[in-house]
């Protein structure tokens, strides 16, 4: 039955598919425009116009409908209320829309404009663009009236009928009400409690362990613990029950009494489990088999009063399938919930929340095989659920099953939110035997997340991707760069589980105008001074290759934290994610040495970790780039040193014979000098290594350890922690020399400049200037984390041996740094993001997206000399 509305306000769910139903001329479009935003209205007339340039072209109706359907689907997918402005008077036309609403778990609402025929025909007559045949409106009205009764049965959750122009005029507003499951304004903190199943003693013990005080006899909460959040506000904690309060255990009525009291007093939240739903059906007198523990509950309830039973009935009936909490960051549902169902309302959503999904198969125990939705979960919200008992609550793609089978004799678990801490109490005894062993099919030493994490889905990496980063702007990865990265990653990179970070590229300072120089420290200082930085650190730039070093205390730590088995307890990789050492045994020996140093220096204890990620420089360069040095650098030197003496000899002879070749001779003499300088420059990078003998590692950043990143520490802190580690193995490890410079102190600046001159005068590569703090920003956003100032001689191996000849230098000075800087910034923020995600135990795919993104960015064309 349609509800006739004589009121000035009607209310509809904030996410619904609103179908306007009414004949031509009933005023649907006007109505829609009055009460809804223009973007919310999908009009069949407008669609007809789009596909045929004529909104009255009935022959275009099929295409128009498809377009309307497509647009609506997109809106519903994105969680947007949508209004269908079409006559919709026939059952068949409504059916498709209802199906669509169901597909997206959105509530269908009907607003019927059942206007008198006279009103419609008058309106139609007034239109110049459309001339309807006289039978159309009466026919539509009669179709409408025939269908009116059955609208609810068709699936409409609410039906509003307006019968006259007065009805419409009287309606002032349509109020949008949030769905019951929407508790986004509730920010916690929460203690989410797994399946209790009548284990009252354990529940009370757990609540007490969490800091609650319970009147166990009366089933009342006496007091709840409080937590002070990051913003400094003190908040009272609340339990959230994931359902299955009852069945199998010894004291279901007591559990119900306590939870009901707490929920009714607003001290707790609760979502229903399948056992709770079944109990409700039994309470409602429905045919229910007394199995799977319900028989125990029914027996226990026999001694309770009818009033209590009635209150249980009301309580269970009022439970909402799931809750979306804390600005959408947390979802609690009994059996979990897929992303596309969160915050939606439909029968399917409720089913999923209660029972989860099954594959349609049954296992050897005759039980339906559960479809593990969490394996493919990529949603932003953390999902906490129960339903399936697991041996241990473990994270998988930002979801966690906290049903640790208390009633089966294991434990009752709570998840503290937002702390993400697990608190559990053991079961006092085993109250029931599970039909299927707990943890059946989980015999791998890797946990579920890590087993499946190894498999990244190509969908997340191909095409154009936009990645959000917490320290800076979104970073866009273009399709062509993704293509390049996919190939590089697949063919050359190490196991993606190790790749939790890639270092950013680094831009040089602005070009110096000093004679004979391309780079000089003063431009670097100027850059930071102008960016508003007053204190910087200058670090010696090592003559090696950039390397990321991950060291775990032992292989067990590598397995536990990285999910890596049989690949040793650490890795050294290059800035493009390739293994640094071709020889795996040598790599492990290297990792072993670093590990010893970490152990000896007490690093693991100090940082309460069993692994570390270091950003470092590994020397000598010749160890990694032997082929490049020989085939390119040495080859150029060899050719030049072979040729130039012959040239100068010929010129000298000519000059002796009075040929006017003096100028040429001078030119080639200076070329000879430049080439000699060039050969000396690359030789600085070459020294022989034998096994580990000769290798030097100079770490300069402690990137991450268990549960922590160190982007809030200044560089002096990084340097001092690293120098402690280096002391434990001074043969292999090398601390980086550095100077802190107050940019307003002219003497300090001058001293840093002269330090650079000394370093580069000895053939050193130069120095890197960084803001004193790891992360520095001004009103324009993040500032470059570092700029490099390279030495005059070193630059010969970058710009060519003769780059500093005055005629060459002049032309080389016009170099554009903007794209290099932008690249450095994007790579920097993605690198930090990757580490934050890893440290926060986000799924591999979300870490890998950032790392993949950095590799993709590396394929952007940038002048390689910068």
């Amino acid at each position: 039955m349609a509800r006739r509305n004589k009121l000035s306000h009607i209310s509809i769910p904030e996410l619904s598919l609103v179908m306007l139903i009414g004949p031509s001329g009933s005023g649907k479009s006007t109505f829609a425009r009055k009460f809804f935003k223009s973007t919310e209205i999908v009009s069949s007339d407008a669609c007809r116009a789009i596909v045929s340039d004529d909104e009255n072209n009935q022959s275009a109706s099929k295409d128009a409908f498809e377009l309307a359907h497509y647009m609506t689907a997109k809106r519903l997918k994105n969680g947007l209320l949508t209004v269908i402005d079409a006559t919709n008077v026939q059952h068949e036309s409504r059916r498709d829309w209802i199906r669509l609403a169901r597909e997206y778990h959105v509530l269908p609402i009907a607003i019927v404009l059942n206007m008198p025929e006279q009103v419609c025909t008058t309106r139609n007559a007034g239109r110049t663009d459309r001339q309807l045949k006289s039978h159309v409106v009466p026919q539509q009205l009669s179709q409408l009236k025939r269908g009116l009764r059955g609208l609810r049965e068709e699936g409409f959750r609410q039906v509003f009928e307006l019968r006259s122009e007065e009805d419409v005029a009287q309606l002032e507003s349509i109020i949008r009400t949030p769905l019951y499951n929407n508790k986004k304004e509730e920010h916690g903190p929460f203690d989410i409690i797994g399946d209790v199943h009548g284990c009252y003693d354990e529940l009370c013990t757990l609540l007490e362990k969490l800091g609650y005080s319970i009147d166990k006899e009366q089933g009342h909460l006496i007091s709840a613990p409080q937590t002070t959040n990051d913003a400094g506000y003190t908040r009272t904690r609340r339990p959230v029950f994931v359902g299955d309060l009852v069945d199998r255990g010894p004291a279901s009525p007591q559990v119900l009494r306590l939870v009901m009291n707490m929920v009714q007093n607003g001290q707790a939240l609760c979502v229903p489990g399948n056992h709770d739903a079944k109990l409700l059906r039994w309470l409602n007198g429905k045919q229910v088999q007394l199995r799977h523990g319900l028989e125990a509950t029914v027996t226990q309830l026999a001694t309770e009063t009818p009033e209590f039973l009635e209150s249980v009935k009301t309580f269970l009936d009022g439970l909402i399938s799931h809750y979306v909490l804390d600005d959408g960051k947390l979802v609690v549902a009994h059996a979990g919930l897929k992303e596309n169902m969160q915050g939606r309302g439909s029968g399917a959503v409720r089913e999923f929340c209660l029972y989860g999904e099954t594959t349609g198969e049954t296992d050897e125990f005759g039980l339906p095989v559960r479809y593990n939705w969490a394996l493919e979960y990529k949603g932003k919200a953390m999902v906490v659920y129960g339903h399936t008992p697991v041996p241990e609550a473990r994270w998988l793609n930002n979801t966690i099953d906290i049903d640790t089978g208390c009633v089966f004799g294991a434990s009752l678990t709570a998840l503290r939110y937002p702390e993400r801490e697990l608190v559990a109490v053991p079961a006092l005894q085993q109250y029931a035997v599970p039909a299927r062993p707990i943890g059946y099919n989980e015999n791998s030493s890797l946990d579920v997340a890590q087993q499946y994490d190894g498999l990244l889905d190509i969908e997340d990496f191909t095409g154009r991707n936009i990645l959000s980063t917490r320290y800076s702007h979104n970073v866009t990865i273009r399709e062509e760069n993704s293509i390049a990265a996919l190939e590089a990653m697949s063919r050359f990179a190490i196991n993606p589980k190790w790749l939790i970070y890639l270092p950013p590229t680094m831009s040089p300072a602005e070009t110096s105008q000093r004679e004979g120089l391309l780079e000089y420290p003063e431009e670097g200082f100027k850059y930071f001074r102008e960016a508003g930085v007053s204190k910087v650190i200058c670090e010696e730039k090592h003559m090696g290759s950039r390397a990321v070093v991950i060291v775990c205390k032992d292989e067990a730590a590598a397995l536990r934290r990285f999910g890596i088995e049989g690949e040793g307890n650490g890795v050294v990789y290059t800035r493009t994610g390739r293994s640094f050492f071709a020889d795996k045994a040598l790599e492990q020996e290297f990792i072993g040495r670093v590990n010893d140093a970490l152990q000896q220096s007490g690093f693991y204890e100090q940082f309460r970790t069993d692994w570390v990620c270091l950003d470092a420089e590994l020397m000598p360069w010749s160890a990694k780039a032997q082929a490049l040095l020989q085939q390119q650098y040495a080859a150029v030197g060899a050719a030049a040193l072979q040729s130039l003496p012959a040239v100068t000899a010929a010129l000298e002879q000519a000059v002796q014979n009075n040929v006017p070749a003096q100028a040429l001779l001078e030119k080639y003499n200076s070329r000879m000098q430049q080439v000699t300088g060039y050969v000396a420059a690359y030789r600085q990078y070459c020294w022989p290594v034998d096994k580990l003998e000769g290798y030097r590692l100079a770490p300069f950043h402690i990137m991450a350890t268990e549960g922590a990143t160190y982007f809030d520490k200044d560089h002096e802190w990084h340097m001092s922690v690293i120098s402690e580690i280096c002391k434990a193995d001074e043969k292999l490890l090398q601390a980086t020399t550095s100077q802190v410079v107050d940019l307003n102190d002219a003497a300090a600046v001058a001293s840093a400049v002269s330090w650079w001159e000394t370093l580069t005068g000895k053939g050193g590569e130069g120095m890197v200037i960084k803001p004193y703090t790891f992360l520095s920003s001004n009103d324009k956003g993040l500032i470059q984390p570092a700029v490099k100032i390279r030495g005059k001689e070193y630059l010969r191996i970058i710009y060519g041996p003769e780059y500093d000849a005055p005629e060459n230098l002049q032309r080389l000075r016009s170099r554009a740094l903007a794209s290099k800087r932008s690249l450095a910034m994007r790579e920097f923020s993605l690198g930090l993001e990757a580490l934050e995600r890893f440290v926060n135990k986000e799924p591999l795919q979300s870490v890998h997206q950032c790392v993949f993104g950095i590799l993709a960015l590396e394929s952007e064309p940038v002048d390689p000399r910068l």
């Binding site: 190509i458 062509e480 063919r491 050359f492 970058i798 394929s859 000399r865």
Partner: protein
């Protein structure tokens, strides 16, 4: 960078007339990458030496060149070209000595065709192929060759010698012949050219090679190298990435018969035909050789080619003429860019998957991902995997013991290793597996390649 031509034929100063350059001056002629200077270190009637000195502007050189195929991003900047005799030298010869090379001399026309005792010196000539090749190129033309190789770095003698030679050539021939031969043979030794080869290069080769190239024992090599094509179909992004740490070139042992790959592909096709497969996904299709074979058989209704190399896919698309497919054939063949270490919905829905010589290109620790992607996520009823048989390698003489057949191979398995791996896969993912050899079978070491055919119980 320095080419000197010396003659002792009296009066040696006739060289100046032949070259059309005055012995008392320094002449400078601009050319594409800088200047060419011509001067005479010595000019007496007994002995006259003309020097052609290239003064290549390295900055200009770098700006001219785009991204190349070299595995070194700074190649354009740290470059041997300013110091060696290369195609730039040929260009300078053509520019500075064009009259002489063309056999014109208005003052002493009678000397043009005269065979003169000539000695030329190249300060540094890059030779791809070493001393032997250098001799094989010049000695058949009557040159007396003496040379001095440059070692890479005196401080690191263990690095060995470079490909650069200081070369001295003596011959008694007309100057124009000498110049023509140098013009062709300098870039041939170097096996590189600074400009793109066009149609007119063939004409130039014919013209300058007249009278000597036809009878040269290395005629074929000289022609091939002279007309060397520099690929232009490079994708910038891909290059920057792949060249950073070097992508090795294909280095198949000469003995491996070209036919072997065809044998593999035909075997795979025949298995598919025999089993009535109509929809097949070729995972790691490369340039689409198998796809082309399958395309010609109407039993295959849906064919998917997937590869990690975008460039290979582009070549495959070209060879399959996908652009010119009739409407009815359009959806029959699909090419996708993907990777076997990432799960991929697009691979689903085929009756068979083929991985022909693919697995050995993955680092062993990454195989676990491939196994899951193919046998668990995609799970086609049939999977065909082929890989080389390492035991057979001893039959390839060119292959040093323990070396792989292809430099991108990350491993090569014996039959036992392959069968153990495949057996484990079959057990783990509930497939049955059978094996067969591919190629000429040897009693001791088996066939050069091996194939595993996996089937689910349903198929």
């Amino acid at each position: 960078m320095l080419l000197t031509i010396t003659t002792t034929r009296y009066p040696a100063t006739d060289l100046g007339y032949l070259l059309h350059k005055h012995p008392a001056k320094v002449q400078t002629i601009p050319f594409a990458a800088g200047d060419a200077h011509i001067f005479y270190p010595e000019a007496t009637e007994e002995k006259c030496t003309a020097a052609l000195l290239l003064d290549i502007d390295p900055v200009k050189l770098a700006r001219k060149s785009g991204p190349g195929g070299n595995d070194f991003a700074l190649e354009a900047y740290v470059n041997d070209r300013p110091y060696v005799a290369s195609s730039f030298m040929s260009a300078a010869i053509a520019q500075a000595y064009s009259t002489a090379m063309n056999g014109r001399c208005k003052d002493k026309p009678e000397v043009v065709d005269e065979a003169l005792p000539l000695e030329i010196n190249l300060s540094s000539l890059p030779v791809s192929g070493g001393e032997q090749l250098l001799r094989n190129i010049f000695e058949p033309l009557g040159y007396e060759v003496s040379l001095q190789p440059a070692i890479l770095d005196t401080q690191f003698p263990e690095w060995g010698s470079s490909r650069y030679f200081q070369v001295s050539l003596k011959n008694t021939i007309p100057l124009k012949t000498l110049l023509s031969q140098l013009y062709i043979l300098i870039p041939v030794c170097d096996n590189n050219k600074h400009y793109f080869v066009g149609d007119h290069e063939l004409e130039k080769l014919m013209e300058k090679g007249q009278g000597w190239l036809d009878g040269h024992p290395l005629k074929e090599l000289i022609t091939r190298r002279y007309l060397k094509h520099i690929g232009t179909l490079t994708q910038q992004a891909l290059d920057i990435l792949t060249r950073e740490e070097g992508t090795p070139e294909e280095a198949k042992p000469a003995q491996e018969k070209v036919r072997l790959h065809d044998v593999r592909l035909q075997a795979v096709r025949d298995i598919l035909l025999e089993h009535g497969v109509t929809a097949v996904a070729d995972m790691g299709c490369g340039e689409g050789k198998l796809l082309r074979l399958l395309k010609d058989n109407s039993q295959f209704k849906r064919i998917l080619g997937m590869d990690v190399s975008f460039r290979s896919l582009q070549i495959a698309a070209g060879k399959l003429k996908l652009e010119r497919q009739p409407e009815s054939q359009k959806d029959r063949i699909t090419l996708i860019h993907g990777s076997l270490t990432y799960k991929d919905k697009r691979l689903s829905g085929y009756e068979a998957a083929t991985l022909v010589e693919v697995i050995e290109h993955l680092d062993p620790p990454r195989l676990a991902a491939l196994e899951k992607v193919v046998f668990e996520c995609t799970r086609p009823p049939m999977v065909i995997i082929t890989t080389v048989n390492a035991e057979y390698n001893i039959k390839y003489e060119a292959l040093t013991a323990g070396a792989f057949r292809h430099s991108d191979h990350r491993f090569e398995w014996t039959r036992a290793e392959f069968e153990a791996w495949a057996g484990r896969i079959a057990a783990q993912f509930r497939y049955s597996v059978t094996f067969r050899p591919l190629g000429d079978y040897d009693e001791t070491v088996g066939a050069p390649s091996q194939l595993a055919l996996f089937k689910t119980s349903a198929s």
